[in-house]
C-alpha cells in the first residue's frame, strides 16, 4: 500500500515522507502513553506502533523493500515477533512468571 502511495514521488521525497511519518508515530505513541488510557489498549497500541516503525526503517530507510530473500524477511520477522512477545509478556506477566520459576 505504501509503495503505491509513494510510487509517484522521487526517492528522496519518499525518504522524507517516511521520516515525517516516523516522527509523527513517535510523538503520538509517547502522548498516548502519557494519557490514562486503559492499559491493555495502550500496550497493544504501543507494540503495534513500534512494529510499524521498525518495518518502516527496515523497508524504506535501509532500502530492503526492493530486495527479496532471507535478509529482508529475517529483518521483518524480527519486528513482528518481538512486539508480539513484548506485548504478550506485559499483558500476561503471571504466565511468564510461572514459566520462568524454577
Amino acid at each position: 500500500m505504501l509503495s503505491g502511495l509513494l510510487g509517484r514521488y522521487s526517492p528522496d521525497r519518499q525518504l522524507t515522507f517516511v521520516w515525517v511519518l516516523l516522527l509523527a508515530l513517535t510523538l503520538v505513541s509517547t502522548l498516548v502513553a502519557e494519557q490514562n488510557v486503559s492499559s491493555a489498549i495502550m500496550v497493544i497500541f504501543i507494540c503495534f506502533s513500534f512494529a510499524i516503525k521498525g518495518a518502516l526503517v527496515t523497508e524504506r530507510l535501509m532500502g530492503l523493500w526492493r530486495t527479496a530473500g532471507a535478509v529482508r524477511w529475517l529483518m521483518l520477522s524480527y519486528f513482528m515477533v518481538l512486539p508480539l512477545l513484548i506485548g504478550l509478556a506485559i499483558l500476561f506477566p503471571g504466565l511468564v512468571e510461572r514459566l520462568t520459576t524454577l
Binding site: 513500534f50 527496515t58 527479496a68 529475517l74 512477545l85 513484548i86
Partner: protein, 218 residues
C-alpha cells in the same frame, strides 16, 4: 595452488564461470541488479543479526525480571526522564533518515551532498550522546543509579550498552565520511558506505524497541 589465467579471471568477473557447475554447487550469479541487492555485504548482515540477537536476549531478560517484580516495574518508569527518551528517539530516527539520504545521494552521483548528509548523521549521533549524558546526570541528581533497584540496573545495562553501540557507529560513520570526502565512493562503489549505513540503522532499530520498553510501557 596455480594462479588463474587471464581468461579464467575474466570468466569469474563476468559471471560466465558459473556455467557448468554441478547442481547445488553453482555460485550466486553476480548479475543481480544493484537495486535488487541488499545494501552492504553478507558480513555486515551477519554482524547486524548477531547484534539484534544479543539485544533480543536482553529484552527477554528484562521481561522475565518484570514478570517477577510487577509492582516495582509498574512504578519505576515514572521516575525516568521521558522527555530525554523521546528526544533521543526523534534524534536517532532523524539520523537514520540522514544516513539514508547520504546513500541515496551517492547512488545518484552526488558525492558532495552525501558528505553533508553524513556530517548531519554524525551531528545527530553527537546530540544523542549529549542528551544521554544529560539524562544520566538528571538521574544522578534525582538519586537514581545502577544500584537503585533491578529496574534501574537493567535500564543502565540496556541504555549504556546501546550508547556504546552508538559510539562505535559514530566512529564507523566518521570513517566513511572521510572516505566519501576523498571521493572514494561513487555509483559503482558504495558497499562500504552501505555497510556503515546499515549498521547505523540497526542502532536506530534497537532504540525503537528500548524506548517503549523502558520509558513508555508500564
Amino acid at each position: 595452488m596455480s594462479a588463474l589465467t587471464q581468461s579464467q579471471s575474466q570468466s569469474i568477473i563476468d559471471g560466465s564461470a558459473t556455467q557448468g557447475w554441478p547442481a547445488g554447487a553453482r555460485p550466486v550469479s553476480p548479475a543481480v541488479p544493484k537495486e535488487k541487492r541488499a545494501p552492504g555485504n553478507i558480513a555486515i548482515w551477519i554482524l547486524i543479526y548477531a547484534e539484534l540477537t544479543e539485544f533480543a536476549l536482553f529484552f527477554i531478560v528484562f521481561l522475565v525480571a518484570r514478570s517477577h517484580n510487577q509492582e516495582l516495574f509498574a512504578v519505576a518508569p515514572e521516575r525516568l526522564n521521558t522527555l530525554a527518551g523521546a528526544l533521543n528517539t526523534l534524534v536517532l530516527i532523524s539520523s537514520s533518515y540522514f544516513v539514508a539520504r547520504a546513500v541515496s545521494s551517492i547512488n545518484s552521483g552526488q558525492q558532495k551532498r552525501a558528505v553533508k548528509w553524513l556530517w548531519a548523521t554524525l551531528g545527530a549521533g553527537a546530540s544523542y550522546c549529549l542528551i544521554k549524558g544529560w539524562e544520566y546526570y538528571w538521574n544522578h541528581s534525582h538519586g537514581i543509579d545502577s544500584k537503585t533497584d533491578i529496574f534501574f540496573s537493567l535500564y543502565y545495562y540496556l541504555t549504556f550498552n546501546h550508547l556504546l553501540h552508538v559510539l562505535v557507529g559514530m566512529c564507523t560513520i566518521l570513517f566513511v565520511t572521510i572516505r566519501a570526502q576523498m571521493n572514494i565512493y561513487n555509483q559503482e562503489n558504495s558497499e562500504g558506505l552501505e555497510c556503515a549505513a546499515s549498521y547505523w540503522h540497526m542502532i536506530d532499530l534497537v532504540w525503537i524497541i528500548i524506548f517503549p520498553l523502558l520509558y513508555v510501557l508500564r
